[in-house]
Amino acid sequence: MTEVMEKDGLETARPDTEAVSQIVIENVWKVFGRDPKRVLGKNYRNLSKDEVQEKTGCIIGMRNINLEIKKGEFYILMGLSGSGKSTLIRNLIRLVNPTSGTIKVNGKNLTTMSHEQLLDFRRNNFGMVFQHYGLLPHLTVLDNAAYGLKVKGIPKGERYAKAMTTLETVGLKGWEDYYPGSLSGGMQQRVGLARALANDPEILLMDEPFSGLDPLIRRQMQDELVELQDKLQKTIVFVTHDLHEALKLGDRIAILRNGEVVQIGTPEEIVTQPADDYVQEFVRDASPAKVLTAGSIMEPAKELLYAWEGPKTALTLLNSKKRRAAFVVNKAHELLGVTGIKDLEKLLASEVKHRTIPASAIRKVTSVLPDTILEDLFPIVSQNQYPIPVVDEKNRLQGVVTTDQIFESISPPEEDEAAAEAETETETKAKAKAKSDEGGLV
C-alpha cells in the first residue's frame, strides 16, 4: 500500500541524484536529407516522421531530444532499429552532427567546437565500443588496444604498458600477439572494451556492444561489465534493443521511438509504470523479479522486539500478538537477529537474570539490502522460515519481505485484474498522498 511513498523515499536516497550532470543534451534534432534545416521551420516541425518524409524527402533521425546523464551513471538508450538510438550516441561525439540543439559534456559545448578542439575532446574524454567491434584486423590485439593511445601520440613503450594493463582487466592476458581475426566474437569485443578503457576516459559509449554475441557469452559479458563498472565508476551510455539487458545493466533507461524519447526512468519505473502502449509492449515479457527490489515491496516489520526491553517484555508481547518469533533490534535500530518464544522461555527458566535480551538468545538471519532484486531473494526464501529482513548499509532494519509478498508481486496480473488494479492503484496513490500530507502535519 505504501509502495509509492517508499519508492519516492528510495529515489531520493539514490547516491547519484546528487551527482553532477556530465552530459546534457538539449533540443537536439537530426534530420537526414537535403537542406535539413527547413524541416525545423514551423511548417514541418510538428508533422509526423512519415508526413515529413513524404513532403520534404527528409528523414527525421532525432526529434527534439532532451537528456541529462549524470556522472557515474549507467545510462541506457533503448529502442527498436530506426528509433534513433545509434544516431543519438554518435551525436555525443559528433560522429554524426546534430542539425540543431546543443550537446554539453562537462559543461563544454561540443556543438560549437572547432574540428581540432573536437578531436582533442574525443581523445581525452571518450572511449567507444562498437557492435561489430570495429577492430583493425591488420593490427595485433595489443596494437588494437593501444590504438587510442597511439592517436593521442603517446610513445610506444608507455602505450603498450597501459594497453597490457587494460587487456589484463578484460581478461585477455596472453592474447596480445594474436590478430583479432583469430579470436571469438566475445574476445574481440573484449579487445574493443580494452581499447576504449586504455585511454582511461570519463565517458564510455557502447553501441549495442553485446548484440552480436551468443546468449551465454552475452550474459557473461554483461556480468563482467557490471563488475567492472563497480570498480571503475565511469559514465556509461549504452545502446541496446534488448530489454533484459537494459533492465539488468541500467541505472536509468531512455526509451526511444521514431527519434523521440518516449520515457525516461529507472528499470523499475519502466516496468511498473510504462508511459504508453509502446513501452507497455516492450516490457510485457519483462520479469518483475529482475527489476523489482526488496526495498520496493517490503513492508514495515509488524512486530519488533527491542533488545533493551528485556526478555520478559518480549515474551509477553509475542504471546499477546500470538506470534512465535520476531526480529530483534537495538537502540540504533540495527538488526540483531530473530528470537522466538522458545528461546525466551528457556532464557527465563535459567538462573541468570537478564535485563536485556542477550546475544545467546538471538539467532542470526540472512538480511538483504533494499536494492536487491527479487530474483536474488528466491534462494534465501527457500532455506529460511522467517520473512527476509531488509536493512540499509548500516544494518538498520528498514522492513521485511515475506514469501507471499514476493509471489504476489511477480505473478502476472490477468487482463481484468490489471484494469481493476490500475484503479486501486490510483486510489492507493491518492491515499498515499493523503498519508504523506498527514505526515507533514505531524
Partner: protein
C-alpha cells in the same frame, strides 16, 4: 532517307587540334621536363633489368613463384617460361618491354592512388572523375597514341605516356572502391578516438583497402603490358615491335614466338601481382 542537316556542325576535331597546337606552342618546356623524367625512370629500370643476367633472373623468378604464389610447381613453370623466352632469342626484348611496363605502372600508381583516395573521400570528386574514367577505359587505346606522339615525338616516352593514361583507371577505381568499402565501424572507431583524417587514412582506410588496391595494381599492370605492345607502333623498342615487323613481313613463326613471349610475361606478372592481393586478404580475415 533524310540526311542530318549539313548546317549543323560542331567542329570538335578542329577545336581539339587548335588546343593541341596551342599546348605545343606554349607548353613546350613543360612537356620536355615531363618527357625527361619519364625517360630517366624507364632508362633506370632498363639498366637494372639488363644488368642482372639471365642466370640470376630465372631462379629469382622461380623462387618468387614458389614463395609468393605458394606452389613450387608455379615456380618451375615460371622458370620454364623464362627459359623459353631466352631460347626464342627474345631475352633482351622481353627485358625492354618489362622495363617499360614497370616504369609505366610506377607512374600509374604515383598518379592513380592519390586520385583514388581523393575520389573516396570526396563525393563530388567521385562524381566528376567517374565518367572521365569510364571514358578513358572505353576509348580505343590507339587514340592515346596521337597526342602522345604530338607531345613527345617518336620513341619510348610517348609510348609510356599513352600507357600511363591507358593503365591508370583500374587503380584509381579500385582504390576508391577499396576505401569506400572499408568497415564503417573501424573508421568510426578511429574517429571516435580522435584520429585526424590523415590518421584515419593511414591507420585504417589504406591498410584495410589494400587487397582491393592490389587487385587494382594487378589490372593496371596487365593493361600496361597490353598498351606497351601497342606503343611499339610509335617506336618503343620491344616485343610489340617484333610482332609488328612480323605482321609487315608476313613471318608467321616470328610473330608467334614474340606473341608467346608476351603471353609468358603476362602470366608471370599476373600471378605474382595477384598473389599480393590474395595474401593481404588472408591477413585481414
Amino acid at each position: 532517307m533524310i540526311n542530318f542537316p549539313d548546317l549543323v556542325t560542331i567542329p570538335l576535331a578542329a577545336w581539339i587540334d587548335a588546343a593541341m597546337s596551342w599546348l605545343l606552342r606554349n607548353m613546350d618546356g613543360f612537356f620536355e621536363v615531363i618527357g625527361f623524367i619519364i625517360l630517366q625512370v624507364v632508362l633506370g629500370f632498363e639498366g637494372l633489368f639488363l644488368f642482372v643476367p639471365w642466370f640470376i633472373w630465372i631462379p629469382l623468378i622461380g623462387l618468387a613463384g614458389w614463395k609468393l604464389v605458394g606452389r613450387w610447381r608455379t615456380g618451375l613453370m615460371f622458370m620454364i617460361m623464362l627459359f623459353l623466352i631466352g631460347a626464342f632469342g627474345y631475352w633482351e626484348m622481353a627485358m625492354l618491354t618489362l622495363s617499360l611496363v614497370i616504369a609505366s605502372v610506377f607512374f600509374s600508381l604515383l598518379i592513380g592512388i592519390p586520385f583514388g583516395i581523393l575520389m573516396a573521400r570526396n563525393d563530388r570528386a567521385e562524381s566528376i572523375l567517374k565518367p572521365i574514367l569510364d571514358g578513358m577505359q572505353t576509348m580505343p587505346s590507339f587514340v592515346y597514341l596521337i597526342p602522345a606522339l604530338m607531345f613527345f615525338g617518336m620513341g619510348k616516352v610517348p609510348a609510356m605516356f599513352a600507357t600511363i593514361i591507358y593503365a591508370v583507371p583500374p587503380v584509381i577505381r579500385l582504390t576508391n572502391v577499396g576505401i569506400r568499402t572499408v568497415d564503417v565501424e573501424a573508421v568510426e572507431a578511429s574517429k571516435a578516438f580522435g584520429a585526424t583524417s590523415r590518421q584515419v587514412l593511414f591507420d585504417v582506410q589504406l591498410p584495410l583497402a589494400k587487397p582491393s588496391i592490389m587487385v587494382g595494381i594487378n589490372q593496371t599492370t596487365m593493361m600496361a603490358l597490353a598498351m606497351v605492345v601497342i606503343g611499339s607502333m610509335i617506336g618503343a623498342r620491344g616485343l610489340g615491335m617484333e610482332v609488328l615487323l612480323a605482321i609487315n613481313r608476313i613471318e608467321v613463326g616470328r610473330g608467334f614466338e614474340a606473341g608467346m613471349t608476351i603471353v609468358f610475361l603476362a602470366i608471370i606478372i599476373d600471378r605474382i601481382t595477384y598473389s599480393f592481393s590474395e595474401r593481404n586478404k588472408k591477413d585481414l580475415r
